[in-house]
Symmetry: D5
Subunit: 152 residues, 10 copies
């Protein structure tokens, strides 16, 4: 993944990157740089591949972060997430890596990512990572994704 580039995607047609390495996350200046606020992205349309079987995996991702100098540019974020479509990764690894890629781009005051994966073998895996204790004074609601329930 190449990051730290000028925001060239806004209002443009861009080819879909074929891997996270090829994707370009971009950033724009935070309009409220001295203000402690949270931004949440909910991405229910995420898919990658199982690195063992090559079969598709699906996840519902929710990303929370506190901007410092930069916001993530949302169109580039979408292309970045889409670039995992043909990428093989285990659930734990993939979720944490996405969090770390955004951290590398934004150097945010704080970030967390929740990955809610679809069941395999009847047992779904959820992965929860944050960069550390949330900043004092931050308002941080639960992500509230319903638990997996099986049937009935």
């Amino acid at each position: 993944m190449s990051t730290f580039l000028p925001p060239t995607l806004l209002g443009q047609t861009v080819a879909q990157p074929q891997s996270p390495e090829e994707a370009r996350l971009e950033r724009v200046p935070n309009p409220h740089p001295g203000t402690l606020y949270l931004t949440r992205f909910t991405a229910p349309e995420f898919t990658s591949l199982c690195p063992v079987t090559g079969q598709p995996d699906f996840a519902h991702l929710v990303i929370d972060y506190v901007a410092d100098g930069w916001l993530v540019e949302s169109k580039a974020l979408k292309l970045y997430l889409t670039s995992f479509r043909n990428h093989g990764a285990f659930h734990e690894d993939c979720t944490v890596r996405i969090g770390k890629d955004i951290v590398a781009l934004l150097e945010p005051r704080w970030l967390r990512i929740g990955g809610y994966w679809y069941p395999r073998g009847g047992i779904p895996i959820d992965v929860f990572w944050q960069t550390g204790t949330p900043p004092e004074g931050l308002w941080l609601p639960d992500q509230g994704v319903p638990p997996y329930r099986g049937r009935g």
Copy 2:
């Protein structure tokens, strides 16, 4: 499965039958034989085995029937359902077979069974069978089991 026996299970300790063949479904007289009413059993604790892999399968079963001369005895029904624990059967076959076994026992005016199976390969199977068009004048509510939703 042996059926048509006197109700010997009521208030007794009975050994758990090890297969549906061994189980004894029992029947008791219908206390309202001339009345068109529906009885519903909901069995969310059903498990059998996959006939190909030997791995356990789970289902939530809902059985609706209209008694004629007989009611199914509920303790025997539970033992009968439990007897599938080590029994291998495909979802479609297992669901319909349970319905037919109870029909053979009770000769009811009408019966239906819904089998709501837990997902395999991310895709759950539901099976719905009834003995025919419901009797005219019967009150027959939806079973209302929520659809499978994956995650999110």
Copy 3:
């Protein structure tokens, strides 16, 4: 059960009847006798006894009826339902009997009762009875009681 008596309960303190036989269902004139409308009572506080073990059973009852000349008096209905507290009856029998007792009292154009019993042995029983096909032109919403789901 004694019925067909003048409505003596309204605004009075009445001793709780100790059995359905002792209870007095009462009726009052229908204020809209020529109008085809439905009245629904929802009674989530019903309890009786298991006739085999003597242990308490619980049910959520919903009664729908179309009045002809009479409405059921609601305070007497409550006392009548409460009178099953020390009464032993099977689920199917008890549900249908309550329906028939109210039919005997009111001679309604139509009636149905749904009994949603709490699980025994992990398997709840629901009982659904109506006096026949609903009258043409009646508006009859589903009772909409959620299905039993076990856990998860």
Copy 4:
């Protein structure tokens, strides 16, 4: 209740009528007089008085109708419903009467009203009335008000 008056309420401050008799339901021309469509009003803020005890009763009302030449004017409808605040009426009577008042005003092609009353003595009453079988070709969704569940 006086009806059939010119729509004088639109954009005006009007004193709150103190009884349904005093209230003025009003009507406006149907902008699609040859079209078979349904209008639904949901009024969760309804209260009247118990005619026996004088204590307040509360209901959630849902009114569906198919206009012929007239629509009910919505501000007058609100004032009319509010006028039951000090009016004593039994649940069955009150619900059906509101339906009939609107029918008298609008002479609609069809109307129904559902009254979902708050529990008294632990047992809520629902009342469902319609003017007859719905017109052929009408789209008429369920009102979908959740059933009363008690606790748990």
Copy 5:
């Protein structure tokens, strides 16, 4: 898509087909060929490509059918659905085509498919197709997928 082949996938590792044309739907004999019952598959992990922009689309698919001589083999069905991952198709076309492919394979007594697509431009599209009026006497529950609600 090539169909009508012997069920060679059961218990085997198979390469993921790269397009629906390449995929092999398979069929197995219906174990209850004279019985009118419904089988439902719920596939919440479906993705294809927008034929205009090349961007991924996501859908939640629910397929109901009544077998005649054949059942669809579930592992092959999964591979077939996965083969749309790099396939471009409009929502309406894609949904109906999947239904028709399975019809061509199974020659079922009846089939329907519901495609519940994720929103684009804030407006999701759902597509509902069935092969005709359901067979008389079939039990056919609603699919019950919740409607799209936006936020709040």
Copy 6:
């Protein structure tokens, strides 16, 4: 509204039309012209103006139709719906008019529209219109929008 034009919007930037009269609904050929299937659009982001007060109104719209020769082009549909943003119309009128505009464009086999409006004066209005009895053999699920509940 001008309709019946070639689909010029696909993949283009188009100025937002300022009124429904200015908007151009467009149509594309139905890829399954001989097949009886339903398409559903859910538009939870609709707003117009109250013709009396000029204050904004909001609605959640759901449109179901059965294509004959044409599908509605979805980007043009979105622009058309957005064009009501500064348009004054009563709830009943606005909902039915949108349905009729699409009928004029598509000459579909059948169409219905549900308008679920946000409350005014504590009482929301819903409007339901369809072009007539649905075609025989069509699968037509409920729209399932939850009823308005007030608070609690």
Copy 7:
């Protein structure tokens, strides 16, 4: 409001007080005076008047308190809440005042009140007040009233 009176209402018929000033809140001894426990009253049937327009307002109230020497008598509480029926008050003021009236009566160890008002102008107001930080060691569950959602 007059308080601090002997509990004269238990098992008696009492005239409905016409204003909060006229109402008599009453108290009874706490049966577990040395025990730190919470009592919650949920009153979904509350109505008062808008002090500007005179139109009715509705609220769902939830009151939590920790008794010291006294419990509030529940029948008197109901009459007190009902006495706001013809009382004009703003939402914020009315909610906090009710809390303070009960505090004046009971001198509890701690109290809070949540007022969940029905929408006006499309925007509901909720008011949350407590007498201070809850006592150490108290178990204090969320009130869990669902947020207002508008439509859809």
Copy 8:
């Protein structure tokens, strides 16, 4: 209530005790005595009598505790709870007393009880008691019982 007796109920038929005084709560050794874990019992089938009117009351009870040397025996617990069936007690008193009875039996490290009572006079009462601040390091999920909502 007599406690501290050897566990004589396991696998036996026992007469139903007629009052809490007559009931025998029993205890069994904690299989993980050095481990800080929580056990939760949910009893939605609880009923007692109003000490003033003699009418039945109903509650949904949830009991959480941290065992020290003993677990409560679950069959005896059920009989104990059932013994309140003919016992008169106010909601606050009854809930706290049950908690204290179990504390006297088990001398647990910590316990709490939530009583969610069915509405009387339209206003349900909930009672929440715990023995003190939960032990450090305990995992203690919310009980999550939905709030009472009235209707709508």
Copy 9:
């Protein structure tokens, strides 16, 4: 935005301001100035414009604040929120700015705003800002807006 003006809007007809700059937020004295309580406004009918494309955006806003000397006047608040209808702003910026405008008006003890935006590109953004750590002793329930779930 001009603020700090006398409350001139109460009971008056006011022209809708065309931008936030033109709108006049107003304030009224806090009737409980020494009391630490929370006021919550829920505004599900918010819309603004995308500053890049000019297309409408929609949000569900929830504002919580603790008054010091002033309350926000609710009719002016509504007009202020409505004034964003033709205003272009990014989600993060718009949400935080609304919070800051109200802070400038009220100088409250504390305030927070949650902006729950409708999805764009399948990925909704939520924004959460508060002025700092909530005051000690404040009761501050979760806003409880359900998470975005996509479909299924």
Copy 10:
């Protein structure tokens, strides 16, 4: 249970172990060993036997842990959980034991397990255990399993 073995199960067909003693939990290296993140497994398909009656018990299990050097291998975990199928254990014991077995294998930084058992005698038991206070800075969402509600 034998643990600490090389991960031999990946991509292999393995015989189902017949008891927890026979099962082989396996571990794989943590790909983010210096990162504090949580992994959650949800297993709604768990069944064991009652040690007193031999009847099947069912549970919904949710396991949360923070890896140190190792992750649990998910296919082996599934086989391990399945191995309780013919194993007799009390609810409290079984739940805690599973937690301790995984702790012995992984030596994680922290772990917790929730066991949500199906009702017996109408009263379900939930068991909650964790290894101690969660690590500072960990993000640990609620498990959110809905409480048992009985019926209604």
